[in-house]
Symmetry: C2
Subunit: 213 residues, 2 copies
DNA sequence: ACGTTTATCTAACTATCATTCGGTAGAATG
DNA sequence: CATTCTACCGAATGATAGTTAGATAAACGT
């Protein structure tokens, strides 16, 4: 065995935390792997490799593999939410429901496809997680769903929604269409903005020209 | 250890196969588990338990865990396709594009949510599978996508599609919205038919009453 | 200068995984 | 009745998983 120690570089006085860098690196690497392979399929050794450290060293920063996941799940949802809220805030005060929903879709999509290692990992893995791992982010998810529900019911109140549209199902369909982009989106197919506008347009007006036929 | 042998009941002359029952039971149990937990998270012991046999006995019917999966993936896609085709065939010859797309959505959804252990397992696990496992069903998936593309471009030719609608993205959005139902659909929320009509309506006409605003 | 803290490595531990294999009860076959 | 085949069991195997623990080198406070 050749001795090949990595340099240990503890905290620089009153500056930024030292190990936080490694910690973030671990999280980011893990998020990527979780998104591509799923939670169980990803090993701590893969995560450690991607972060440039040894498997055992991960436990200096996290208590368990589960803890890495739950942190990713939580910040994943927070990131989408922040992205959506910032898009909505950028809208003028007299924005139409149509504009608001379009902005919501664009925000969700940007959070998902651009910043999105944490977000896409969160969305992709959640469904197949054991109950005790789902529990941690359940509340955040409910809140986010409620947020969209209010966006839609506001649109319904201010008129303009087609009759017979089930708001609850509409929300699930919108988020479904948007979430599914993690399965197919590829920058080669066009910018996130373009895809976002297409989806918003489809959701708002559908594929057909008139409402008959 | 108490001796508790299961009865062995080999083939009845020229009748139905004997072990086929067990084989099917294994596949069905595995599909359910794959859908809920993912491929890697599901152990052969869980599959064997659900099928009422011992883990080692699975290898009498399948060469490997991979083989179970690929068979599930393949029949999963075949089932959706069959379901979609049968819905479309039930349509009158002079059906409108709108009716055809609605029928396609309904077919896909029925295949997904009713027969659907194989189908939903296929859709849910595929994205996070290692490349060599994806390969087996890649062709089937491409064919199915092409099927929807032709459905949409046919609608475009016969007129009636809104200008500016990207057919490729439209297909991905439609299938995304529909596929995502496996994450949320619950019979308590209403029949598959009702959900199907809602989705078809949203895709066809969108949520808004008019195309302005 | 000296002991402490920080961040890591290396090596081990236990559990569990997919898979293999010899054995076997009972039906089928001759 | 003897043999073969079928469909399974039960125990073992080797690989790998998450996790733990002791050692260590660099940077720190005093």
């Amino acid at each position: 065995m050749t001795i090949a120690k990595r340099k240990a570089r503890p905290g620089i006085k009153g500056s930024e935390a030292p190990a936080e860098l490694t910690r973030d690196h671990i999280l980011k690497s893990a998020a990527k792997l979780f998104r591509d392979q799923g939670y169980v399929a990803t090993t701590l050794r893969q995560i450690a490799d991607a972060a440039g450290i040894q498997a055992g060293s991960v436990y200096y920063h996290f208590r368990s593999k589960d803890e890495i996941l739950t942190e990713i799940l939580d910040t994943g949802i927070d990131e989408v939410r922040k992205s959506v809220v910032s898009r909505l805030d950028a809208l003028p005060a007299d924005a139409t429901p149509r504009q608001k929903i379009a902005a919501g879709i664009e925000g969700h999509l940007l959070g998902l496809l651009q910043h999105g290692d944490f977000t896409s990992a969160s969305i992709r893995t959640y469904g197949q997680l054991p109950a005790h791992l789902k529990r941690s982010s359940q509340l955040r998810r409910k809140d986010y769903s409620a947020f969209w529900d209010s966006l839609l019911s506001e649109a319904a109140e201010h008129g303009g929604l087609r009759t017979g549209v089930d708001l609850h199902i509409a929300r699930l369909v919108i988020l479904g269409a948007v979430n599914w982009t993690v399965e197919w989106y590829d920058p080669k197919q066009g910018s996130v903005q373009k895809v976002s506008r297409q989806i918003a347009s489809l959701i708002s007006d559908g594929v057909f020209l008139t409402h008959e036929g």
